[in-house]
Subunit: 519 residues, 2 copies
């Protein structure tokens, strides 16, 4: 065959037998081209049957699984990787919440409407507003729901870029693992079955095109596509796709954004590819905003992946420090702008040959107090320490007088309560008066896919033609498209994952249960 | 059935017979869910058979048809509308050409590389560079090819926004009809069959998933989806999709860009919807950049559609005049920037309630000399005439002293050879010294879809999974995605349509011809 084709397992098997089968059942064999046609065939015998199958075990997947199990359903979670959690365990574990107890304690008046408005601004108006409202509206309750399973938030609330006020909660561990681990424990306690190294190969659909299960490779060993053995898993109520983005799928991301070559690093885990997205598209899912791929503005070229700099810059330099061009010692953007604005600003720093001139972000001891990766960053030489601004300038070849002038100007802005250079909000800002200083070189990395499949507010995947649900198919988290528009705000992926994962589960739980047959 | 499904004609017919058929051929009828599966069935009997079927009759479709017929193939062109030509007859008929005879005569040194570079800049680096080179490289030869069929270019070359020098040829008629009419005549002379009111419903694929024809509604009357009768048309070598964009498909464009509501007008013809794109996606075509939808920056809110202002602004105010904010009398962008930059600049002009404050573009008698729609625009009161700048200011409520100061400043820039405000290229600029003045209010309209299906340099549509060609399926023109990236430059759609249409035809002509059967 000259190219792969869009079939479900039994279709593919039958295609292979092709003419023989046709001849066998009705003597219809003909010469020349033939037309592939569906027919009613026996229901497959499934190796195992569940009410709900969740594909993926990150924030969205684990939230869906726990929610569905809480409501009494028999749930399976599969993940193709040898560990659970995907990208959700290798990020900062920060969740934007509108109206948290933490905000109330800090005297910060927030609202769902304000969070929606911030996300719309960052999304350049491309957001699916109904889904966006659903997410923002669910954050406060979902943050408490996570706490009830054991997530512990730091006692303070943070001000991330693009948010108009401090609204970010962060796990005690500064890692999404502080959410995933408790959810996995809760899932196991609630009787959820969890299979790792189990990769979705194709959907199984019935004669009415309802998704009734998945064909998987069991014992799959990423990235060996031929590893593992076939299994058919039945889902009486539906399949929830919590399969994340494709930030590490270099060919696929380059089809949409040719500049995102292999030379640009990514914060994602190696399995973050487009395989699951493609399977959804093959059965009619409608892809939205696939070319909107976020670059994280807080990463460092001096280490691989998410590393130590991302958390350091998020918690320290962006909130409590400044970022300067090493050639001039001058700031060149609002350090609390949204990610797209910051990443694009950083990537303008190039020499005459177009090669990156990495800017540095820095803060002092007080500013770095809440950065949990400081020690590791220093150890790996990603973060550098300098006692004085002169020393700092020397480390990076910055004109010392200009650097000192910039810091003095910044301090004046803080005293005046207004950033006259770039309009940065100064609610939590303080003057940078004394060392030691901590600095890191910065360059963006591929971080998050705003694009994905179109869903409705019941988290049902909508069909390209009808814009009505593909029966039995739900999606949540990064696998969906449209919520964030052109640029996701920081800490809104955890919010989206948890809220939409639970939303998908609530919808699937209510679906009619089909009667499927075991092998 | 709860939602439409992805089937070809015979699959759909068989689905309807469902269980009955299964029982009939093999006694396999079962209770409960069943799995749709393909099987080898008799080849369909086609109502008519051609070598190549071209869907769409704009620049790409007609170029493909003429090219294929020139090479001796039996060609059918279908168009769903009651007239041929689609958007290609309701635009300015301007074609960007690198290295034209017109440029040589005017002493303008251009190159394919420079045109590629201009388009990459406008496309924000999102362009498919190989396809882009193919298009630019083919422009000079294709412009002569059009001439050979009767297209007559104006004797001068124009400087459109975003191009770094004058390279735009325009038909004598200032309309794409000056290209489409000669091509239709050439097609008919070469024996091409042409059916209008014939809508593609689905592709017909053989057992190897090769596209072998199309199911159409013959006698279709747009937009009545139930009009017309079914026909199966066979294509021994392949189907070329020259089906344009979806600028008038309000639900579909809003899925990607919620702001493009029905309140935003479009320059496109009413049939410019996503139906054909969706059919390609259903058989595995890979959609690229669907959210990149261009707003034309030269249209007027004072008339519907492309109207008279678009040509006037393109040929007159943008090349030979200036655009000002009516509240200040001041310019606010480079009038020769690319379309995205200009449209976005214009759409920043809003009042406190966010309502548009339409800027005006204006020039004088000399500047308007080449605008063929001037007379009509004046007649319909879209273009207004004023003898003096004071009168002009009075017409639009502009502070007269400020308007005069802006014109004086502009004239100084022209004398200095440098636009110190916005860096506009001044190669063809002249001072605006005397009236009468001609002005038009401006607001963007939905104009062009940069997005579409992914193709290779043989114009073969590539499959989502394999990134290899879907056998028998070609695409050209606006139906494809990636060539223009984030923003198409003016006059590059004609270039793309003609060059890629011919390219698709050359590829399809070389394909093996299947032996298909007539009914």
């Amino acid at each position: 065959m000259s190219h792969p084709h869009n079939t479900n397992p039994s279709r593919r098997a039958l295609l292979k037998q092709g003419a023989a089968l046709a001849a066998g059942v009705g003597g219809l064999m003909v010469a020349g081209p033939t037309i592939a046609a569906p027919r009613a065939t026996p229901a497959p015998k499934f190796d195992e049957i569940f009410d709900i199958i969740v594909v993926g075990s990150g924030f969205a997947g684990m939230s869906a699984a726990v929610q569905a199990a809480e409501e009494g359903d028999k749930v399976l979670v599969i993940d193709k990787m040898p560990v659970f959690g995907g990208n959700s365990t290798i990020n900062g574990g920060a969740m934007a919440v509108a109206g948290s107890d933490h905000q109330a304690k800090a005297g910060i008046e927030d609202s769902v409407e304000l969070m929606v408005s911030d996300m719309l601004t960052s999304g350049r108006g491309m957001n699916d507003v109904e889904m966006l409202k659903l997410v923002c509206d669910g954050t406060a309750e979902s943050a408490r729901w996570l706490e009830s399973y054991g997530t512990v938030w730091k006692p303070f609330v943070q001000h991330f870029g693009g948010h108009s006020l401090p609204r970010v909660l962060q796990t005690r561990e500064s890692s999404g693992a502080g959410i995933i681990r408790p959810l996995i424990a809760a899932a196991k306690k609630a009787g959820v079955t969890m299979y790792k190294q189990t990769k979705l190969i194709e959907f199984v659909q019935d004669g009415q095109q309802r998704v009734v299960g998945v064909k998987v490779k069991s014992g799959y060993f990423f990235p060996k596509e031929k590893s593992g053995s076939d299994k058919l898993l039945g889902a009486r109520k539906g399949v929830i796709m919590a399969t994340g983005g494709f930030g590490r799928d270099i060919p696929f991301r380059q089809m949409q954004q040719p500049r995102l070559t292999s030379e640009l690093d990514s914060t994602n885990h190696p399995g973050a590819n487009a395989d699951a997205l493609k399977q959804m598209m093959l059965i009619g899912a409608n892809p939205i905003h696939l070319d909107q791929i976020q670059l994280g503005p807080w990463s460092s070229p001096d280490e691989k992946g998410f590393g130590t700099a991302s958390q350091f810059n998020t918690a320290a330099t962006y909130q409590n420090g400044i970022v300067v061009d090493v050639r001039t010692g001058e700031r060149f953007f609002n350090e609390l702008a949204d990610r797209k604005a910051r990443a694009e600003a950083i990537m303008t720093r190039r020499d005459d040959q177009g090669q990156p001139v990495y800017p540095i972000g820095f803060t002092n001891e007080k500013g770095a107090a809440k950065a949990q990766t400081l020690e590791w960053g220093l150890k790996y030489d990603v973060i550098k320490k300098a006692d004085t601004l002169d020393d700092l300038a020397g480390l990076y070849g910055i004109p010392a007088d200009k650097l000192k002038a910039q810091v003095a100007q910044w301090n004046q802005f803080v005293r005046d309560g207004e950033d006259k250079q770039f309009g940065r909000p100064l609610m939590q800002a303080f003057e940078l008066t004394e060392g030691p200083w901590y600095a890191v070189r910065m360059w963006p990395k591929v971080h998050y896919c705003m694009g994905g499949v179109r869903v409705n507010t019941h988290s049902q995947v909508l069909h390209l033609i009808s814009d009505k649900p593909i029966a039995g198919l739900y999606a949540a988290g990064e696998a969906t498209g449209g919520i964030h528009g052109a640029s996701r705000l920081g800490a809104c992926a955890v919010a989206e994952g948890v809220v939409t994962g639970r939303n998908a589960a609530r919808s699937a739980v209510k679906a009619d249960a089909l009667s499927l047959k075991l092998a």
